[in-house]
């Protein structure tokens, strides 16, 4: 880091308790919401929270605090904050912290710790959360001195949101929170500025100008860098067909003519064919993830690669780049001004897009989830934010909903966390109160954080939940059907509770539909209800997600539905 430093605002000159310094530090960072659950070691902080400007959202399980903070961070671009006590409170945050790490989401997680003299003695509710989370944080702190609290928090927020964002853990021993100290003045180092690589930019423009069949492959890094404007302008002026990853969806609007769809395992055939035939792959804020590439050595086999990323460590990790450009994505994209001579290629891609467009004329009278989601997405419009759980419904949302901005699609991409959807909905409603926030869940995922219906009720959050119920762990069942010779093992959820009744028990409106003729009315009811509401949708348990690239196959070896 540069030695140039930035001075922080004036701090207290009188001794203040560590817990009060924590609250002041959060207020200084502009935090308005924190998600958490109190307990023994973190009680001093909860004591100091009363009377502060912070709105604490009391969840019913610490995992939900971390997942709600994750969603809050994705929508606002500022670190989401979660708090838990030591021991089980801290370990319950772990899944949410890992979720944020895998998807590069800014987050600050605060954990209470047993008092310093007890650390290392197997004290009640003692666990080494600092050590446990080392592989899943961008950085972490264990605060040893009360006077260091303002500096540590300022550093934590800077680290969480700068460069490639990620979660930062702050572990606070109870005595450090109780003791009073005069905070020590400190300076934060300036963030280093990365210079544009002119030679690499020239080389990239030359590759683009020479290309006959280029493809723009963009990912979640675009949203993280808030580089949508630059990406869209680059796509427009170059005319290069574009494909997006799961996390990239919305960076270029899904209804843009040049957008061919999501690539990869459940991607569109047009996107995967374009990748297979391209002679130049321009990768922007994506990381050649295995769900996107399929068998790596058959991914874009004849293409040269321009790899653009904020994080130099992504360059060459899985696919060698002919030209690498690291730094601010917008600044880099604005320098790419060459146009390929690829009119024939663009027409070819458009023809494939038309040929392989999704069909919604499923036989029968049962509810076809892709058609329902498409209709819901169109009715909800651009003010909608969709949060997903993980499984078949997650892929249907990605395939069939329309997104005009990446913040409208909150999905657990890297970790694939079942149970993300409802807490993420909580976080999204609070991050953007004017949005219509819709959680699409499955019957497996929903039960993993069903307790958060109580949080929704407590704060009267107007979350719309669409629970797609096939009485199975659908994605596992699909794989067992296709790749394990129909040996169905532990996927039956036919003893699910009555989800509408469960929701009623939490004091939330809910209803069930199971026939195609009920879909339009249900969508209207969902969107016209002021408060929270759940629509329980029964579907055919045999329905699968199509297309599908089998494991360890090239992306063009796609399996399709039978009708």
């Amino acid at each position: 880091m540069s030695s140039a430093a930035q001075r922080v605002p004036a701090l207290e000159t009188e001794a203040v308790s560590g817990a009060r310094l924590v609250v002041q530090a959060l207020e200084r960072e502009g935090v308005t919401h924190v998600f958490g659950y109190p307990g023994g070691a973190i009680m001093p902080v909860y004591d100091a929270l009363t009377g502060s400007s912070l709105q604490h959202i009391l969840v019913r399980h610490e995992q939900a605090a971390a997942l709600a903070a994750d969603a809050y961070g994705r929508v606002t671009g500022r670190p989401g904050v979660c708090i838990a006590t030591s021991g089980p409170g801290a370990t319950n945050l772990v899944t949410g912290i890992a979720n944020a790490f895998l998807d590069s989401v800014p987050m600050v997680a605060i954990t209470g710790q047993v008092a310093s003299p007890l650390m290392g003695t197997d004290a009640f509710q003692e666990v080494d959360i600092f050590g446990i989370t080392l592989p899943i944080v961008k950085h972490s702190f264990l605060i040893r001195r009360t006077a260091d609290i303002p500096r540590v928090f300022a550093e934590a927020f800077r680290i969480a949101s700068s460069g490639r964002p990620g979660p930062v853990l702050i572990d606070l021993p109870k005595d450090v929170g109780v003791m009073a100290a005069v905070p020590e003045p400190f300076e934060l180092p300036e963030e280093p500025q990365q210079e544009l690589d002119e030679a690499a930019t020239t080389a990239a423009n030359a590759l683009i100008a020479d290309a006959n069949s280029p493809v723009l492959y963009f990912g979640g890094g675009v949203a993280i860098a808030r580089a949508e404007r630059a990406l869209r302008e680059f796509a427009e002026r170059s005319g290069i067909p574009a494909v997006g990853t799961l996390k990239g969806l919305g960076a270029i609007p899904t209804d843009h003519p040049g957008f061919l769809g999501m690539l990869g395992m459940h991607g569109s055939r047009a996107a995967n064919i374009a990748i297979d035939n391209c002679d130049l792959l321009i990768c922007v804020g994506a990381r050649f993830d295995d769900r996107a590439t399929g068998k790596l050595d058959s991914f874009a086999p004849n293409a040269r690669v321009i790899h653009i990323d904020r994080d130099p460590a992504e360059i060459g990790k899985l696919r060698a780049a002919d030209v690498a450009l690291t730094g601010d994505l917008s600044a880099i994209l604005d320098q790419l001004t060459a146009r390929p001579k690829a009119d024939g290629w663009v027409s070819q891609c458009q023809a494939q897009k038309k040929l392989w467009a999704a069909r919604y004329d499923a036989p029968g009278a049962g509810i076809y989830a892709p058609a329902l989601l498409k209709e819901l997405s169109e009715a909800a419009g651009d003010k909608a934010i969709f949060t997903c759980d993980v499984g078949q419904h997650q892929m249907w949302v990605a395939q069939h909903c329309r997104f005009s901005r990446p913040q409208a699609h909150l999905t657990s991409g890297g970790l694939g966390t079942m149970g993300y959807g409802v807490p993420a909905g909580v976080g999204a409603v609070l991050a953007e109160p004017d949005a219509t926030v819709i959680t699409v869940s499955g019957d497996g995922s929903f039960m993993m954080n069903v307790q958060e219906l109580a949080t929704i009720r407590r704060y009267r959050l107007p979350l719309k939940i669409v629970l797609i119920d096939n009485s199975q762990l659908g994605m596992v069942r699909q794989w067992q059907e296709l790749f394990f010779e129909e040996n169905f093992s532990e996927i039956d959820l036919s003893d699910n509770p009555d989800f509408a009744e469960v929701t009623h028990a939490f004091g939330i409106e809910a209803f069930t539909i199971d026939h195609r003729s009920q879909v339009s009315g249900a969508i209207e009811r969902l969107l016209n209800t002021d408060g929270p509401i759940l629509c329980h949708v029964r579907i055919d348990p045999r329905e699968n997600v199509w297309p599908l690239v089998p494991p360890n196959s090239s992306n063009v070896q796609m399996m399709e539905k039978g009708w």
Partner: protein, 84 residues
């Protein structure tokens, strides 16, 4: 084939484990280690060996370099380096 990295870092709490843990998690076995610390700066010389041929030492060096406590990482070939 064994490779050698020299990692300069600020020896804050957890920094050593953070560096070594990353090396192991990213597909390398530790084959040798030496460390020295002076004031607020420390240096580690790590001999490491990839568990499979697809791993490139340049990548793990960049992954180390992005750790907050790490100041610089240099790749030293076995012939150039001094014994750990």
């Amino acid at each position: 084939m064994s490779e050698r990295l020299v990692v300069s870092f600020t020896p804050t709490e957890g920094a050593v484990i953070r560096v070594l843990g990353l090396v192991e998690r990213r597909g390398y076995s530790l084959r040798g280690l030496a460390m020295e610390e002076r004031a607020d700066c420390a240096s580690m010389t790590i001999d490491l060996e990839a568990r499979d041929a697809s791993r490139r030492v340049e990548v793990v060096a960049r992954q180390l370099d992005r750790l907050v406590d790490v100041n610089s990482v240099s790749i030293v070939t076995a012939r150039q380096g001094s014994p750990a």
